[in-house]
Amino acid sequence: MRILVSRREFLRHLLSAGVLASISSAGLFKLESWADGEGPPVVWLEGAGCSGCLISLANYFDSASGDGFPELLAKLDLKYAPLFMTASGEPAISQLLDLLSSPSKHILLLVSGAIPSREGYCTVGSFESKEQEFKQILVGAARSALRVAGVGSCACYGGVLGARAQEPRFAPLDHYLPPSTSLTLLPGCPPHPDWIVTTLVGMIAGENIPLDRYKRPLSLFGKTVCSQCARLPEKQAERFARDPYDPELCLKTVGCRGEVSHCDTPARGWNGTDSWCVSRNTICVGCTEPFFPETPFVTTSQEGSAAWRRSG
């Protein structure tokens, strides 16, 4: 007879009973019944990006359970992640190509970074001395993938590189992956680690993840930033800021895109604090949206703005 309930079992019970707000946990304990490394092989590819998404993931920490990045690594069969894997060179790229040579769909693929329109601008390894284009490796990996997640705004919508006017142009994932790909997008610059872990756990557990029209999980991106902001009463009372760093008033009049941006950081907070953009007196720039980055960020006018045109 079990007298003691483990902390993880207790959390799971609370979550399924709807007692715990889903905001509090990315649900790593859902994989508790899986032996370490039992799930499908996970591959993380880095294209034209800055590694900020993987660094953000390394900041994962769930204070309720004490689970962090090491616990996540222990659970995963993370076959390829250039920032952390021991292998370099031919052993590394051979292992990846072997993994992708199977005709069946058997891996989970996470992709960060955008894809250049020309060859020679982003190569990710050399096999038998020949450079491998990120684009080719990506397309091959997607063919082997049960599910694919785009991580960060660059992979999802082009992000900061999508703003380039000169060649080469940089495109997001769905430009090169077939429409039949099971694709979930986790934008943000960077995305919150909880979003990545929640989605990865869901993918491993074979869950259906309801998505919005931009392929973002509704549970994470379903609400506007504005609707969750502590300054909403100021907006409703039409008390608007003139100073872009105003500590109290609604920042819409200085360019805040909260009305047309979607994520849950106002409730979730960053890095284990309750800090998020507006709470630190800066406007939301809409980094989870396809229009990011729309400059000038700080602006008194919505005229000509793609962001606000969308909201209408």
Binding site: F69, P70, Q95, P116, G120, C122, P190, F297
Partner: protein, 459 residues
């Protein structure tokens, strides 16, 4: 005995995309080519934008050291206007940058560097590796591996400090022209103090002894991977009251030598060459006059990294360089001395951050208003975790006309220049003994000692 060409690509456990091509003869590296293999073009996408937007966009150059770019970008614009930052603003920026150094150095020592020296577990992502030459006995290696796991929490906590100061890590939202967007409150202040205490204990009881265990087993690495003997520092971590830098700026040349004092830093002696880089060649020139026009088919090119030079010399930057410029190091750099300097700097910064934190005054100003310049030219500068960083900015009619970035890894991992002189990593790789050409772990150790960040190096 013939020559063998060995390619290390991908180089793992660095930030970004690097390909190292080495020529091996008689069991030693004869020559090396360091190749940056990703181009993104930040300098071009900044043209035409408001100077106000630069620091937000520039942070996306790198997700490991974004705050360094953000602060240096703000510094460039601030230099176009009169005025000094208030004391609290200096403190907050020092704490923000300090937190970035701490996260980055812990990440480097444990997660990027250590797997070259200890046998990691068989399971993914560690099982496949260049084997051989792991000299620590299994019991010691197991302890270091447990610290590798423990270190993840501490580097995360360093980012928490950065978030308490600058709103979020990575990609801080709180850097403002003239200071920071929001002040510290007493709870944030106390939380930072507690985290610094935890970090101090970790560095003293884990990082230092672990460094000692590795250095003791690999003393030959104090003589492998020698640099060029020239070192730069652009100055960093100003004292909140006096403005005097913790790491003063300067140029130290010709080490080892007892007669090589630190010379003043002269920014106009910095040039970049693209002779062997995939860009249209305008000749070796100041970044103020440079353009960045990719030319991937260029036959003489082999890297996306440009070749910065100081007075024509190939200079090393980073934690060891900062100590050399301070006058505390009198020998040429090596693999082990670079790693040692990074750990020492981690400890020094924790102490400094505690001191700066103690000087913070609640309710004192943390930002001064800075009007955007209509026109101006300035070089924002500072030290990022990996070394000297500069943003060259020209503003005309309220918009950015030119934006050129020279990063630490541009200095350390540059290709050959117009005179065919190799970059620091290329020079340091030469002479490295290699036991197994298919698994050149020795060369990987040289490479990792520089802690390369490729996203920065090419930008």
């Amino acid at each position: 005995m013939g020559q063998t060409i060995s390619i290390i690509d991908p180089v793992s456990r660095i930030e970004g995309h690097l390909r190292l091509k080495i020529t091996i003869s008689s069991g030693r590296v004869e020559s090396a080519q360091a190749q940056g293999t990703l181009y993104r073009g930040f300098e071009n996408l900044l043209a035409g934008r408001s100077p106000e937007d630069a620091r937000t966009i520039c942070q996306r150059i790198c997700g490991v050291c974004p705050a360094s770019h953000g602060v240096v970008s703000a510094d460039a614009i601030e230099r176009m206007k009169e005025g000094a930052l208030p004391k609290n603003a200096r403190i907050l920026r020092n704490l923000l940058l300090g937190s970035e150094f701490l996260h980055s150095h812990i990440l480097h020592f444990y997660h990027l560097c250590m797997p070259d020296y200890i046998q990691m577990p068989e399971r993914s992502p560690w099982g496949v590796a260049y084997g051989g030459d792991r000299r620590l006995p299994p019991e010691e290696a197991d302890v270091l591996y447990s610290h590798y796991l423990e270190a993840f929490r501490h580097r995360k906590n360093a980012h928490t400090i950065g978030s308490l100061v600058g709103g979020r890590m990575p990609h801080s939202i709180g850097i403002a022209l003239g200071g920071m967007s929001s002040p510290l409150n007493p709870q944030g202040h106390a939380a930072i103090g507690n985290l610094l205490n935890e970090l101090e204990t970790f560095v003293r009881t884990r990082m230092f002894p672990d460094l000692g265990k590795i250095a003791a087993r690999y003393p030959d690495y104090f003589f492998i991977g020698r640099g060029t003997g020239h070192f730069l520092c652009f100055g960093a971590f100003p004292d909140p009251s006096s403005g005097k830098d913790l790491f003063p700026q300067g140029f130290r040349s010709g080490l080892p030598s007892t007669h090589s004092p630190t010379a003043p830093l002269l920014m106009d002696k910095i040039t970049e060459s693209v002779a062997h880089s995939w860009y249209e060649d305008g000749g070796e020139q100041s970044p103020f006059r440079e353009s960045t026009v990719p030319e991937r088919e260029k036959v003489s090119g082999y890297s996306w990294i440009k070749a910065p030079r100081y007075m024509g010399k190939v200079c090393e930057v980073g934690p060891l360089a900062r100590l050399a410029v301070l006058g505390l190091v009198n020998t040429n750099s090596s693999v082990m001395s670079r790693i040692l300097a990074r750990v020492v700097e981690t400890a020094l910064l924790i102490h400094s951050m505690k001191d700066w934190l103690g000087q913070y005054e609640f309710d004192a100003p943390f930002r001064v208003a800075v009007d955007l310049p209509d026109s101006g030219a300035a070089i924002g500068r500072g030290e990022a975790p990996r070394g000297s960083l500069a943003h060259y900015v020209i503003v005309n009619e309220k918009a950015i006309q030119k934006y050129q970035v020279v990063t630490p890894t541009s200095w350390n991992c540059s290709p050959r220049d117009a005179h065919d002189v190799p970059g620091v990593l290329e020079k340091a790789s030469a002479g490295t003994p290699v036991k197994n050409e298919k698994e050149p772990i020795e060369v990987l150790r040289v490479l990792h000692s520089f802690d390369p960040c490729m996203a920065c190096s090419v930008h």
